[in-house]
Symmetry: C2
Subunit: 384 residues, 2 copies
């Protein structure tokens, strides 16, 4: 049935077709995803879901280790992969080894300035800028990995860490732990504190400072130079990490004596550093994902080192060219005295270091006493 009134002008038809095309396009565009917008100068690919724009973030992460360096370099990869999986690709993090994008020891500055969004490193590298920072990593005769994690997450440590890094526009997260590091490789025997005199040892950071105060000569050298330096006699001794990493450098081939106990880095905590402006652009779910991925990587590194150091140690034990030696008590006592003096000095000079040390020391004394009747009592008793 048609009548004359039922005829419409092309203008109406055109308007209807245009509206249909517009709505259809909107629908199809959303299905396809990918609306590109900018946020704080960063280009972000986004998709609109449930009426809320769910942005995609592409972050860069710089680290202080060679890419995929066993243990230390595994953690940032584990972290990045897990964030990608959990966010279903909404937050992707590209990991760079030390020197690839910025030098290994400029990770803190790069994150602070926003050159990159995230970094993986160790707090004690920044002790020139922040004298308190070694307490968030490891100090001589300090906390074991388990004790350190207790202080950070239930003893006020992490709050202090965040307070200290905030002026640098960085939020830190615990980023792995190697467990107790070994006392190092030596070309000669240490039978008393006198034997430290004239001993040239590669031992950087606070450990090196304390070693020098106890009579030794500390040297700082990158890992890549340790084998040759030890072989040619440029140094008499070096510490590195523990059997898993030490044997990878071949240190057992050039030094006869492997010393314990480690005293300078009893439970070094690594760190994930996130630029605060970048952090603030993330929705709450991606912030929670970052937090959980950091905690995952934090435990995972310790698990990896525990199992793999153990395996590497078995090989060393069967190596007739290696002699295991224990530092004499007077050496340990001299190093301990030097460490205490160092803490007194830096806390006298720096208010922030004093505040951090006060919290750390109260926890350390308590947990050490507690471990006398638990971990320590147990691991000694099971050898009976």
């Amino acid at each position: 049935m048609t009548t004359n009134n039922n005829r419409y002008s092309p203008a109406i038809i055109l308007a209807l077709v245009a509206a249909l095309v517009a709505v259809s396009w909107l629908y199809v565009a959303e299905k396809a995803g990918s609306v590109v917008s900018t946020n704080n100068g960063r280009t972000i690919a986004g998709e609109i879901t449930s009426g809320i724009e769910k942005e995609h973030f592409e972050w860069k992460m710089v680290t202080s280790w060679p890419k995929n360096f066993p243990g230390l370099g595994t953690a940032p990869e584990t972290f990045a992969k897990l964030v990608n999986r959990m966010s279903d690709g909404r937050l992707t993090i590209r990991v760079y080894g030390g020197g690839e994008l910025v030098p290994a020891l400029e990770v803190f500055s790069a994150v602070s300035q926003g050159t990159v969004e995230v970094g993986h490193s160790a707090g004690y590298y920044w002790k020139g800028k922040i004298p308190a920072s070694p307490f968030f990593t490891a100090v001589p005769f300090g906390l074991t990995a388990q004790e350190m994690n207790g202080w950070l997450h239930y003893g006020g440590g992490l709050e202090l860490w965040r307070e200290v890094y905030k002026p640098f526009n960085i939020i830190p997260f615990a980023g792995g732990n190697t467990g107790v590091q070994m006392g190092g490789w030596f070309n000669r025997e240490i039978n008393s504190v006198e034997d430290l005199k004239g001993l040239k040892m590669r031992i950087p950071g606070v450990g090196g400072e304390v070693f020098s105060r106890a009579g030794g000569t500390s040297v700082t050298l990158p890992g890549s130079e340790l084998y040759t330096s030890l072989q040619t006699g440029v140094i008499d001794a070096t510490e590195w990490v523990a059997p898993y990493n030490d044997t990878a450098l071949g240190l057992h081939e050039v030094a006869k004596y492997y010393y314990y106990p480690g005293w300078h880095e009893p439970g070094p905590a690594l760190e994930f550093l996130v630029n605060i402006d970048a952090w603030n652009t993330l929705p709450a779910d991606l912030q929670a994902i970052i937090e959980a991925a950091a905690r995952y990587a934090n435990q995972d590194m310790l698990d990896e080192y525990t199992a793999r150091n153990n395996a590497a140690f078995m090989d060393l034990q069967n190596n007739p060219d290696i002699e295991f030696r224990r530092f004499p008590d007077d050496v340990i006592k001299a190093l301990k005295k030097a460490a205490d003096e160092y803490y007194q000095e830096i806390t006298a000079e720096d208010e922030v270091a004093k505040k951090v040390y006060t919290s750390w020391k109260a926890y350390e004394e308590g947990v050490r006493n507690y471990h006398h009747i638990t971990e320590q009592a147990y691991i000694n008793a099971r050898d009976l």
Copy 2:
């Protein structure tokens, strides 16, 4: 400019209007979210985003502890909250205390049968059904928390655990660790292995089995009855956890002697249990979120116990009514001998237990030797 040819029939107009309405409705419906569908009989609220239906999951979690019980009951809450935050509410988990939905010791069955999707408990509760299960929690003179996490995540332990639970339609995840548990509270002194004879001690599980073999009388009682049983002399001694939980039960008010070292549960790993059918309904991002939340809670519990046991221990140390005592060496040796005999028996009777024990024992011997020169050497040296 109009001509006669440019007139169209109402049918075309109607078709165009209908198409416009349909596409607009589709767009608006998606914006509003909430399409309800069903999946495996569960009602799921869904939303369509990016062309993929993103389902909402509502899960139930049963546990073997009173709801929010400090430490043990904190972990499932931490896990559920983190999953909710990371998934932006797409996976919500409601936590039930022991006995609220199913009895405390029927968590495994409930997850196995799919009554609930997830559970939080301890593997050694199922040793009647699975003799190998205590090796995934704790056994006398076994692994510390750090060592246990190394075995599980880098020593083949988790793969074995999953293989053993698979016939029960369950996928397990490490779900927290208390650290070394204390030797317990005693009403009388233990000066030799002879003093174990006739001693009635609440000590359940493998620890109880070993305690009985060494001459004592082991009793199983729920935590809620320990205070009164100790006070009225129904039992002479009881273990529970460590200072944080023990003092919450008031055990220090009714027993004079607090014994160390703990020997029966040196690093108990709790467990998250996920029903495999429920697991398989999850998209990959939510599976990754579950995995990370479990690992977060796994470390978090140990951190909490380390810090809070330490704080509770400080109070006990200052309590003049408590006497700390160390088990004599002959008692430790007798318990150790009984434990070894027990392992020989269960592994001779059960092929699965033998396979698990073989992996566990090889790792245990290696890591114990390794800790002689690292953790153990360090914590003994720092007391010099």
